[in-house]
């Protein structure tokens, strides 16, 4: 039973009780001595008789009964109301619990989705960063390898280019003035013989 039904029952009971109280409540006596009509007398007699039937004790009895009935109705309705309230409270609790659970579930779902999305974005970002780092590392490695190879080649080229000077320098350091020119004469004369034609040409052309 819902709370509306309980309220409606209480209302009906209150209305019935009000009617009974109106009917049973004692009314003030009218002076009918001046009436000459027999109908009026009859009415007065009926009223008198009814007053005799509905005397104070009877009225009190009715009043007690009404009170008891009212109390019974009130008690029953209170019981109904209590049960209904308990039921309503229980349903309300269940409803609230369900609603809260639903809301929480929704919120958790949203939160989870948000977390998942954020995690995906973070993972994507990390992945991209990792890719960029890998790419840069590869480029840097390649660049360093190229530079190292270039430097190595440059050193080799320089060494090869200046090899004669380097060897000459080391030989010069090693032998210094140890070799007498007399020992070199053979080599010098050989060189002169090899270039004799050119030297003669120089002299011929006005050396």
């Amino acid at each position: 039973m819902s709370s509306y039904q309980v309220a409606f029952g209480i209302g009906i009971s209150a209305a019935i009780l009000s009617i009974l109280l109106y009917l049973l409540w004692p009314r003030p006596k009218k002076n009918k001595a001046t009436s000459a009509s027999p109908d009026i007398d009859l009415a007065a007699i009926a009223e008198k008789k009814s007053m005799e039937v509905f005397n104070d004790s009877f009225r009190e009895e009715l009043r007690n009964r009404g009170r008891l009935h009212f109390e019974k109705v009130i008690s029953e309705n209170a019981l109904f109301l209590q049960q209904d309230l308990r039921l309503t409270t229980s349903e309300l609790n269940t409803f609230m619990k369900d609603e809260i659970q639903k809301v929480l579930k929704d919120e958790f779902s949203k939160y989870e989705a948000s977390i998942t999305s954020a995690r995906d974005i973070a993972l994507e970002s990390i992945k991209k960063t990792q890719e960029v780092i890998d790419q840069q590392r590869t480029q840097l490695e390649q660049q360093m390898n190229d530079q190292a190879a270039e430097e190595k080649q440059r050193l080799i080229d320089r060494f090869e280019k200046n090899m004669a000077d380097i060897l000459n320098h080391y030989i010069l350091d090693a032998i210094g003035g140890e070799i007498d020119l007399t020992d070199q004469l053979e080599y010098i004369f050989q060189s002169l013989e090899e270039n004799k034609k050119a030297i003669l040409e120089d002299v011929k052309n006005g050396a």
């Binding site: 060897l167 020119l181 007399t182 120089d202």
Partner: protein
């Protein structure tokens, strides 16, 4: 008549020194002739002048011969062919004479040789005419052999 140069006269400075010596000799001869009473001791000659007069059969004691010789030397100085040769160290006289002998025999008798020192020439020599420079040094030899050296380094 052209003067024949002995091997002891190898450089332009040698000719200039001999020219100066002949001039001094001429002055001394004149002085000796003036001092007829003075002791005529033989005037000492340098090796170069001695070789020169022997080779060209010149008697310096004859009248006007020293003056003629000076003129001839001046003329020779204008005609000489001057080569410059550098070595790592100062060459000995023997080496100088051998070199000048080769040049005068194989190239031209009028060749004179100026000697220079160039320490960067470890082994060999550098010859410079007024047209060309001939590098007979070890460095040049190594430079010419660079390809072979590189091949040897690479183990080819």
């Amino acid at each position: 008549m052209e003067l024949k140069m002995p091997m002891t006269i190898a450089t332009k400075q040698d000719i200039l020194r001999i020219q100066r010596e002949v001039r001094d000799y001429d002055v001394l001869v004149v002085q000796n002739n003036v001092r007829k009473t003075a002791t005529q001791s033989p005037i000492p000659l340098s090796a170069g002048l001695k070789d020169l007069v022997q080779l060209n059969q010149i008697n310096l004691n004859e009248k006007n011969v020293p003056k003629k010789l000076i003129k001839q030397l001046e003329k020779t100085l204008k005609q000489v062919i001057l080569f410059h040769m550098s070595f790592a160290t100062e060459p000995s006289d023997d080496v100088n004479q051998k070199l000048i002998a080769w040049f005068r025999k194989e190239v031209d008798p009028k060749i004179l040789l100026n000697i220079g020192i160039q320490p960067t020439i470890s082994v060999g020599a550098v010859l410079r005419t007024n047209r060309t420079q001939y590098d007979f040094s070890l460095r040049k030899h190594l430079q010419n052999s660079q390809k072979d050296l590189v091949k040897a380094l690479r183990g080819e």
